[in-house]
Symmetry: C2
Subunit: 368 residues, 2 copies
């Protein structure tokens, strides 16, 4: 039923909707690799269950799980969460999953990006990544959804944000990184985004979050609440290396307009106080050559804007930093008065290198 299309979304009149548009369901992947997730991934699995359960109060969730972990995942997850077998190298649905696009008639298709574990042999986070790279195709097959393959163009879903109305926001640090598309110029990359997401304007931030191992994905420094409204990870501490990064992003957004010519309404969301890997946390992770190590004292790229918008809700990460957790919740409640704002304690997800937005992927509703 599902075809691999040789055309492009732009040619066919398909666009990527904003995350705030209606979803059919959410896709997630089950964490298990013991060289990234401490203690056999058991604490992370519990956190993923909490996130999945929180989302499932707003929309259906499908969890993709390897054969080895299938029974365990099925047992740990509530009945109403669908569990399907998809082999994987790790559990970042945002980056491995398809970016779904829709047309005016509500037909849904997938964009299956070439994936190389955030930098391939240059500065990728693990090797190999062939199972991850095949995951998007498998999701589209399960759903009988036709897909486009971005042959010769490497991208992760977490490195783009769209407003569904012609605008895409990215970071130079990530999209111009040496490990992804070294042979493409900035203009050529912009052209790929316009082709596969069917956007008219690409806004380039310089950076993302300090020490973000994804080469600073945009989805850790901003989120788009709705067209023209952006949330920005922020710090007031001018001595924090994050300050310059956030300030620079603020300046770009302040002076830019989106594809429709709107100026951005920018909501700052203060990052939590430094989150460092503890000795105990570091010791729980297998040491494996070729996988990014998790060392005691390393600063984690903690950011509240790595939240996920669901039908009628917002699921955001909490870090046990009471002051900033509460400030983030207040901003979210202000920006999303029409949605329920739900916090989930997410330190265990952050320890693996990302957060709630990174481990989720929305499939738009389309028409039935």
């Amino acid at each position: 039923m599902a075809k691999r299309l040789s055309s492009t979304p732009k040619q066919d009149g398909f666009r990527m909707p904003g995350e705030f548009e209606e979803h059919a369901k959410t896709w997630m992947f089950w964490p298990e690799r013991t060289d990234n997730w401490r203690l056999g991934a058991k604490p992370a699995q519990k956190a993923f269950v909490e996130v999945a359960t929180a989302i499932s109060k707003f929309e259906p969730v499908t969890m993709c799980v390897s054969n080895n972990q299938y029974s365990n995942a099925r047992e740990m997850l509530p009945d109403h969460i669908r569990v399907v077998e998809i082999s994987n190298d790790d559990s970042w649905a945002r980056d491995m999953g398809p970016s779904f696009v829709v047309n005016d008639k509500g037909v849904v298709r997938g964009v299956d990006w070439e994936f190389n574990a955030w930098g391939g042999l240059v500065d990728g986070l693990y090797f190999p990544w062939d199972k991850d790279d095949q995951a998007a195709e498998k999701i589209c097959e399960i759903e009988n959804i036709d897909s486009y393959r971005s042959q010769g163009f490497v991208l992760e879903g977490g490195s783009i944000h769209v407003d569904g109305e012609g605008t895409c926001i990215v970071t130079e640090a990530c999209l111009l990184s040496e490990g992804r598309n070294p042979d493409l110029s900035k203009e050529e990359i912009e052209d790929k985004l316009k082709t596969y997401l069917n956007v008219e304007k690409v806004i380039w931030l310089k950076n993302g979050i300090y020490l973000d191992e994804t080469n600073e994905h945009v989805d850790n420094i901003i989120q788009i609440a709705r067209p023209g409204v952006v949330l920005l990870a922020w710090t007031d501490d001018k001595n924090d290396p994050q300050y310059e990064l956030s300030k620079s992003a603020y300046d770009v957004l302040k002076h830019e307009t989106d594809a429709k010519g709107r100026h951005f309404e920018i909501h700052k969301v203060h990052i939590p106080s430094n989150v460092l890997i503890t000795k105990e946390e570091s010791e729980g992770v297998d040491k494996v050559d070729g996988t990014l190590p998790r060392q005691e004292g390393d600063r984690l790229a903690a950011s509240y804007v790595n939240f996920y918008i669901v039908n009628g809700g917002v699921i955001f990460p909490k870090f046990g930093d009471e002051i900033h957790d509460q400030l983030a919740e207040e901003v979210l409640n202000k920006v999303f008065p029409e949605r329920d704002v739900v916090g989930v304690y997410a330190r265990e997800i952050l320890l693996g290198g990302g957060n709630i937005h990174c481990i989720t992927q929305q499939q738009p509703q389309g028409k039935k």
Copy 2:
């Protein structure tokens, strides 16, 4: 979405429909184990593609494939056949898959039989079989279909035939075999069938096809065309060991009535001339301790009634025995005047121990 139910189909008013009732789709599994399928399973894969393609002209087909074979299967199969990842130990959808049941409202559920590779540690055909045993649950999860697990009761879908109107036909050779449910009496087994299939009457044939390695599954010796109409594998050669087996089945069916009190209309389908494994075929199979060997000169359990009924069609196996291939086609055309009868050359499937009915599983239409 999919629940594991602790009740039974009988309690809940669900029955297994006849194969001739309308299907939503067909499930198959991709062959790959090189200790069962010769030459790296390549010839078998081609035969499975032919069967899947033939079925897909009548109804949708989903092929379940391990991660290792996913790309190859996706490449070899036509686009319109859905390919989903499900780990497996071998490729017998009839036996590993769920037996689907429906209720009056058209709700579809699955019966997930306990599976032990046709006899477990007594006379099973390979070890281990844990992936096969989990396949039915995974299919139900993909489809969001609730399922029953036959805890403590081992059965394969190929060892039962139902008419959808209260009758089930089985063989004693298989259902009373030592490797399946040695602690259950014949009456207790009959009771399980009545509970899980929601039938009123179980008809016991003594045997199936001579040397059938499944302990003589019923689906290799008979098929039910519609309520009251049965096709029976037959030989006129009284010196063939099959003669007594078929004659005995004929006598049972001739004197029995079905659950509705109907006498059976019996159509004999002559088996092909002896099909023996060649030296070349035997040499193409890996020799592995614990897996049934494929030895030169071994007689295969070839039978035309191992055909599969699809929406508007019948897909039956041909063996290159021109006389009997043609006779079988004539009988099928007579019994199914309203369906297209399609033959597929199936020697490569037979070499693995079964045939077209064994490698397919219908999911009934239900209501949407």
